[in-house]
Structure formats: structure tokens, C-alpha cells
Symmetry: C2
Subunit: 344 residues, 2 copies
DNA sequence: ATGAAAGCGCTAACAT
DNA sequence: ATGTTAGCGCTTTCAT
């Protein structure tokens, strides 16, 4: 086990002081007017022996950790997994590491996780926050920590966030269903007070109202366990035989919904048209393929990391807060086309 | 921005030495025969003011970080996402945080990531290693770092690993196809020298050989970009019209394969039977549902973290290395049943 | 039973 | 232009 070299070892080997080495290594040689010759000599030596600064000691001293805390709802959800992946890439390219975790939408767990991140001195926070975490985040911000929210925001918390236009997305998709001639359109979603879920529900209702149709909403308790989603959807669909279309509010609900549709042998779209929020392989590969609202994952990740890096790099608090709202794309497929139904 | 309290602040407020506080906080009060009364007083005070030790300083001093580095192939792949999720849970419960990243099966990137983890003083490594990383891992182990591999192992590297019985899995699944009467069975996989991919290919070949059938293998270069997987599969399937079954070697290949099958309007299983490694929603929801080899994700995660925690807690090097091989489950569905074909 | 002090590796204010 | 030195907050040896 080869001993790790320290900056003192370098300094001693070269018969100079560790300050000089530190300055050179931190690119302050010019500023400190250290001779070009010395700089080269040090750099060469450091490279030869493969010296690496101890970032722990550095962090202890500077108060910076170069770590960003990322909190998603559930890393095994494809939406969050792909966002996390992209954020990770961008962060690494900018010299930051990511510590991540899944909140499960659990307030208490999230509080503990924030505590842990704080404890670890992360430099910034990226999170899809659960409800009830307002105070904790506010206190974080008050302590000068950069916080960027995504996927949803907290109305009571004053910070940057990146979202999509949820209300318009569901409004637009519901209108599409109406245009196709569907009249009995249900909306199946998680019961949630989160901004994005409320907006999605609202968009759906708005479209129905404009067309004098009656909303049929099924709210399901958020749960990681599929059984507790599939069960309620099953009884809901069994009970509402008069529905001619169903709109699933998230990819998770959508996937579970499709399982129910299969197990009840419901024909899509002739018995029931289907639309889901989010667009993943499951929807593309279903028969018929499912009409879906695709979120601009790359754009979301790009914006999130850009905003955070900005905050990290500009020490002044005077920056304006940004609320970025991105557009989604409605991809119309066989599951919501009346013509397709007629063909059968 | 409230100042963080240090152990000195605590000591001063209580008019005792920081040593005593440190001992009490680290549960060494008994051993150091500190009076029960003092212990209670300190604990109470610490709790009241909400003091939290600075883990950075602690790490710098102890050399431990309580962080585990997790390197997967791609966190947005459902297999790795679900494993990561489970490992994360278990790790947190045991007081460890996870820093994760995706290797993309890229040796150079992985080397840099290892360097970074090392630099960050992670206490242990969990990885699904790419090829060509043998030396780096060996050097890690030589330096006394606990390393646990999963999903695949490196024959030249002597360390613990958790795998599944890849060879038997594909052998068994291929036999199933043969039993169903399929004679022209292709195996579509990533071209790779990784242990698990080699074993999968071997299992397939073994089953064919035993039945005097001819293997038809299509190897695809590993790539994150779907186009570069879909393209080759498309031309492969177009070229081999005589196939009556296809076996996809990973979930990623399987998902892409299904897209090709759809776009070519191939009927499953009447035109072509399908089996895929890994079992996810996409396969369950396809019409007909796809026969799949389900990996025991929870068991894998459990074993990985258990083995690593063991290594972390027993300082002695004398522990035996463990190679744990877990069983998979072949879930037979409509995509590989001759009867279903007959019905059409 | 408790405390003083050294030191982990680094940065930066302050000499020289 | 380069060096001395004081911490960052903690653990731990050695004294008392």
C-alpha cells in the first residue's frame, strides 16, 4: 500500500515551501509572480510522482466540497433516472460530483437526507421536493445554499426552479381526445398537492369544461409498491364501464394502467382510448402504441445544471431568481385515434 | 446564516475539554470511565443546540469517509437503476452514503472515476466493471480498498463478486425454445468480452449444440445511442428471413429488438418467437408478452451490500473471498409458445 | 476521570 | 518571489 504523498512531501523534495507549491497548483503562480522556471519544475515533479491533493483537507479548509446533492423521487423511475444521468454527466464535466438519493416523496426521509447532505457540506442542492419540506428548504436557502428545484416547485419557497408547462400539456392532450370524439374521459393520477400534479389535473379539467364534459378523476395514494396502484385502477375501471378514454397522469400510473388494461382484456382504443404523461419505451412498444406527453428531459437537465452552476459561480446574492417553464411534446399514436378504433 | 457549532463550542459552553466531549460522542465514555452524570449533561446539551460533528474534519482525521462509490454501466438502464436504488437504501440504513456514476463501459472514463473516488476517500467500491480495468482495480485492492464486483467479474482480478448463473440461464431458455419446436434460433447480443456476456453466449451455444442446431449470432457494438443498436438488428432480421426465434442478450438489446420487430411488422411468435434477458415492464406489456429471464435484483443488491459491509467491518485481510452466483427465473410468456402461434 | 496538545493535509494572511 | 505560520474541526496519545 503505497503512501499517499502530501503537499509537504512535494515541497521537501524540491526544497521549497509548501505555500509555493500550493500557489502553483492552484494556478496563482502568475498572481504571486512565481518564476516560470519554478512553476514548470513543480508541475513536472507533481506529474511524475502522481501527486493528487487531498480533497478532504482542501474541503475542510475552503469550505467547498465540489459535491452536488441530487434528490429525486425515485431513481428507478425512468424519468428521474434519465434526468439524473444527464445531470451527472454535466456535473462531472464541470468538476462536480453528485451524491444522489431517492426521497420516496417522504417528507421525513427527505429531511434526514437534507441533514445528511448539509453535514457532508455539499455545495449545492438539486431536488424534486416532496410536500411539507418548505421550511427545511427555506432554511437551507437562508443559510446561503444554492438550491434548484425541478419537476415541481414549492409556491411558498422562493428559489429557482425548472418545470414543464404541465397545465397546458394535459389541457392540450385532453383536447386532442375530445377532438377525436371521446366524451367520457377519466383522469387517473396520484393524489398530491405537488404543483405539477395539481397543474396536470387542472389542465384536464379546463379542457373538459370548455367542452361541457364531465370530469371523472381517480386519485391514488402515492406508493412505490405497484399492487397499491394496480388494485385501485382495476376497481376504478371495472366500476366505470361507460368511459371511452383514460388519461394517466404519470409514467408510473400509466404503466400500471396498461397492466390493468391487459389483465381486464380491454381493447385499446376501441373499448378505451389511452393517453399517458411521460413517454418511454413501454408506451412506444405497447399495442397499439400509446399517445404520450414527452418531457424534454435533456433540456430540463441542461437548465437545471446551468442554473445551479451559475449560482455556484456568482457569489453575489443579487442574482435574479429564475423560473424556467419548458414545453412538452404530445406524441399522438394509435391508442387515441378514433380512426384506429373504427378500423377494428 | 447561523454559524455551525464545533466541538470546541460545546466544550467551552460546558466548561470541559473537547477531548471529553469527543469521547462521549463517540461512545467511549464507559471505556474512559466518564461519569454518567457528565455524559447525560453533554448529550442533553448537544441535542438541545443541535450540534452535528463536521464529518469532513472527522474524515480527514480518521481516514474514513462513510461513502461508498457505486459504478454502474448506465444508471438509466432499468436493471442498474433498480439495483442502485436497493443498494442505496441498504447503505443509508447502515450509515453509508453513496456516490454513484455511470461508466458507459468506457475504460478511460472508468479510470478517471476510480481516481475521483479514490481522491474522495470513499471507503469501499461497488462496481460493474468494464473491460480493461483490471490493473486499476488490482491496484485499488493492493492498497487495501474493499472492492465488490457485480453483474460480471474480471477473471484476472482476485476479489469478491456477485453474479447470476448466466450460462445456465441462457442454456435453459434456449432449451425451452427448442422444446417448443423452434429450430432456427438467433442470439443477438453486444459484442463483449465481459464475463457475463461470454457466459450468456456460451449457454445459448451449448443448448443448440446438444440439439444439433446451428447457432446464428449477431454481435452489436455497445452503444448508448439506440440508433446504433436498432440499425444493425434491422438489417440482421431482414437478412435472416429463415429465423423462427430470436434471443436478445440484454434488456437494452431486447427493447431495441422489439422496436425493430414492430417496425418490420413481424408477428410474434408466429413469424418469430422472442426471448430476452432481464424482465421489465416493456416485456410484460408487449403483445404478446415476452418470455424473459428475470434477475433476482433484490438478492443481488442484498448480497453486494452485505459482502461489502462485512469487508468494511472486519479489518483483517484474512477473510475468504466470496463468489456468489445467484439463480435467475425464466418466465415463459406468449412470445415463445408454439401453441400461441398455432392459434393465430 | 479528565485535559493538553499534536497532527490529519491544506490554504492564505502575513512576513521577509 | 518565496517562506512562516495559524488555523479548518476532529481524534487520540500521553499526562495528570
Amino acid at each position: 500500500m503505497k503512501k499517499k504523498l502530501s503537499i509537504v512531501d512535494i515541497a521537501n523534495s524540491l526544497n521549497i515551501s509548501k505555500t509555493t507549491v500550493s500557489f502553483i497548483l492552484n494556478g496563482r503562480a502568475q498572481e504571486k509572480r512565481i518564476s516560470e522556471e519554478l512553476v514548470q519544475r513543480v508541475l513536472k515533479f507533481v506529474d511524475e510522482v502522481g501527486y493528487k491533493a487531498n480533497s478532504l483537507a482542501k474541503s475542510l479548509r475552503t469550505g467547498k466540497s465540489n459535491i452536488i446533492g441530487l434528490m429525486v423521487e425515485d431513481i428507478s423511475n425512468p424519468f428521474f433516472a434519465s434526468i439524473a444521468r444527464l445531470i451527472e454527466d454535466r456535473a462531472y464535466k464541470n468538476g462536480y460530483k453528485i451524491i444522489y438519493c431517492s426521497t420516496d416523496n417522504d417528507t421525513k426521509k427527505t429531511q434526514e437526507l437534507i441533514e445528511m447532505f448539509r453535514d457532508r457540506h455539499v455545495d449545492g442542492y438539486i431536488m424534486a421536493p416532496p410536500e411539507g419540506i418548505e421550511e427545511d428548504i427555506t432554511s437551507l436557502i437562508k443559510d446561503g445554499m444554492p438550491v434548484v428545484l425541478f419537476d415541481r416547485h414549492l409556491p411558498k419557497v422562493n428559489t429557482d426552479y425548472i418545470e414543464i408547462d404541465n397545465l397546458f400539456s394535459t389541457y392540450n392532450a385532453t383536447r386532442h381526445l375530445v377532438e377525436q370524439g371521446y366524451k367520457n374521459i377519466a383522469f387517473v393520477t396520484f393524489s398530491s398537492q405537488q404543483s405539477q400534479m395539481k397543474a396536470r389535473l387542472e389542465g384536464y379539467k379546463k379542457a373538459l369544461k370548455e367542452n361541457s364534459l364531465k370530469p371523472v378523476v381517480k386519485e391514488i395514494l402515492f406508493n412505490q409498491n405497484e399492487e397499491f396502484i394496480i388494485g385501485p385502477i382495476t376497481s376504478f375501471l371495472k366500476k366505470h364501464k361507460d368511459l371511452d378514454a383514460v388519461f394517466f397522469g404519470t409514467n408510473h400510473v400509466g404503466t400500471c394502467g396498461l397492466k390493468v388494461i391487459n389483465s381486464l382484456s380491454i381493447k385499446v382504443p376501441s373499448d378505451l382510448a389511452v393517453i399517458s404523461f411521460d413517454d418511454y419505451d413501454v408506451f412506444k412498444l405497447f399495442s397499439p402504441p400509446v399517445t404520450a406527453i414527452a418531457q424534454p428531459v435533456e433540456e430540463i437537465a441542461d437548465n437545471v445544471i446551468t442554473v445551479l452552476l451559475n449560482k455556484l459561480n456568482s457569489p453575489l446574492q443579487h442574482q435574479k431568481l429564475q423560473s424556467i417553464i419548458l414545453k412538452t411534446e404530445l406524441t399522438i399514436r394509435g391508442s387515441s385515434r378514433m380512426q384506429a378504433a373504427a378500423q377494428l
